[in-house]
Symmetry: C2
Subunit: 306 residues, 2 copies
């Protein structure tokens, strides 16, 4: 079974959450939105399995692995224009992991830097060494839960608010996020777009219709945003901002960009952003290639379990 | 390295949290207490590694594994006299796990029953099958994060409030939590003491000085409560309420009881509870055995990584 199918199963289960007063937004968006303590909070859990989500080459600095694990969760708070409050980390480590202290220290530093100090942690040491140095027993499984608060005026920016006529924008360069020679690169060292998201919500207010972060590729993630909003999105490959070494296919499908993808009908965008497409009536998501050919955008991107 | 040492390292790191306004209680208690959304919330992450924390015999109902994973986290909310609000689940599953749907369905049902609907989830499928049917790749790693709210009048009940002169109480039978013939038993099918904790906080108010849940054994957990409170606890083995098949050593050290351990100077306890010791000035925690011999209570109990 593919992870995507399992996640869809969870989302389907969550239909039953509609009648539960404390749950404003259940599974399926970048974060859940839950009423607690007199206000709304954002919550998300994200896991990084080394050797599964990425295969760090021997000698990859522990600091980069920690940074990625925390940064992915922070990016989900940014995706809703939220502010991080705190985080919790769970880890399953291989036997005799002498770098466990270093890993948690580094996670703590990155969490603090992004405003979500680690307030809880749980560690398990797996019993059996892995048959492979890169197998599930040989490198860590890191799970990060993050809590945040929504933008005080705009509220949480969901995936479901895109409207026909909106422009579709991204906040930075796409593609070539992994250096094939070293295994390192942007996918390990991105900066979550907290400040950009805050500036968008401050500047556009209710005109910031929909937003998410790009983790699995612009093509697949824009398809998800279109589906959540009940609209059609038409992307123009000629407008994609390309990282050095990327072509438009990589920009659509490499994933791990952690840029913001948002839609708005505003004429001026308060931060640097690239207009990559438009929202139309209908359903589905397409990419018009440089030769004029039109492809299904959902075919570009990294689906878990593919 | 032992997990206990790692956790102490994390707690030491958390000393730096003292100056962070949103963190009322950092790592080291049953939950963190964090200010968000205009009030305080309780947060905890807990992991269950099958084959590590317990070794379910072949044929163990998936429902019981799901129940245990959620129940352990709920018990941490009860330990602070809190009310569950929502939960998130992360899972690393072996390849081809046909029971993944069943597992998440069961977790969703138990989370709903205990008032903390699953609002988020993340699933990873491990790449390589485990060399052992019970190894880390062969059975799931389940991480549950839970959010709750503290008691509206009493506030969160911490481990650190015990006072000399308090009685030390437990809410139910101890020991023999695992049936050695079947591998099943109380450790898989306990009921978190949410109602009992609420009744204690309602009835005793500020007189409910300290509380935690017993997960690693009365001896070790009472030692932790004594250390957190800066007091001495003297337990009397003759007063331990024994589950059928348990002796006082098992009651002190088997662990996985998930009863509440609390201290109070109140003369009347509003729920059924067993007085198992007293709080005194000083430090440390002892058990007086049936023959009058006195032992270090911290030597009884299950420490991670032991």
């Amino acid at each position: 079974m593919r992870e995507g199918e399992l996640l869809r199963h969870i989302y389907a289960r969550s239909a039953g959450l509609a009648g539960i007063p404390q749950v404003a937004v259940g599974p399926g968006d970048d974060c859940a939105v839950v009423r607690a303590g007199g206000g709304d909070v954002l919550l998300k859990v994200d896991q990084v399995v080394a050797g599964r989500h990425f295969r760090p080459p021997p000698g990859t600095p522990i600091d980069l692995i920690a940074r990625k694990a925390v940064g992915r969760a922070v990016s989900d708070i940014a995706a809703m224009a939220g502010t991080p409050v705190c985080s919790l980390a769970g880890a399953v480590l291989p036997p005799g992991a002498a770098w466990a202290d270093e890993l948690f220290d580094a996670m703590s530093v990155w969490a603090g830097r992004w405003g979500c100090p680690l307030v809880g942690g749980d560690i398990c040491i797996s019993e059996e060494p892995s048959p492979s140095p890169h197998g599930p027993g040989g490198l860590p499984v890191l799970g990060v839960t993050i809590m945040g608060t929504p933008h005080p005026a705009r509220g949480p920016v969901l995936r479901s608010g895109a409207r026909p006529g909106d422009g579709v924008y991204v906040t930075g360069l796409l593609g070539a996020t992994l250096d094939p020679r070293t295994g390192l690169g942007h996918h390990l060292a991105f900066e979550p777009r907290l400040a950009e998201a805050m500036a968008l919500a401050d500047g556009l207010g209710a005109g910031l219709h929909a937003m998410m972060d790009i983790s699995d590729g612009l093509g697949l993630d824009a398809s998800r945003l279109a589906a959540a909003s009940g609209v059609r999105i038409e992307l123009d490959a000629g407008a994609f901002p390309l990282r050095e070494g990327a072509d438009w296919r990589g920009a659509a499908g490499d994933g791990e960009d952690y840029e913001l993808l948002f839609t708005t009908d505003a004429g001026e965008i308060p931060i640097p952003a690239w207009r990559v497409g438009v929202v139309a009536r209908g359903s589905g998501c397409t990419i018009r290639g440089p030769g004029g050919e039109v492809a299904d955008a959902g075919a570009f991107g990294w689906e878990h379990g593919r």
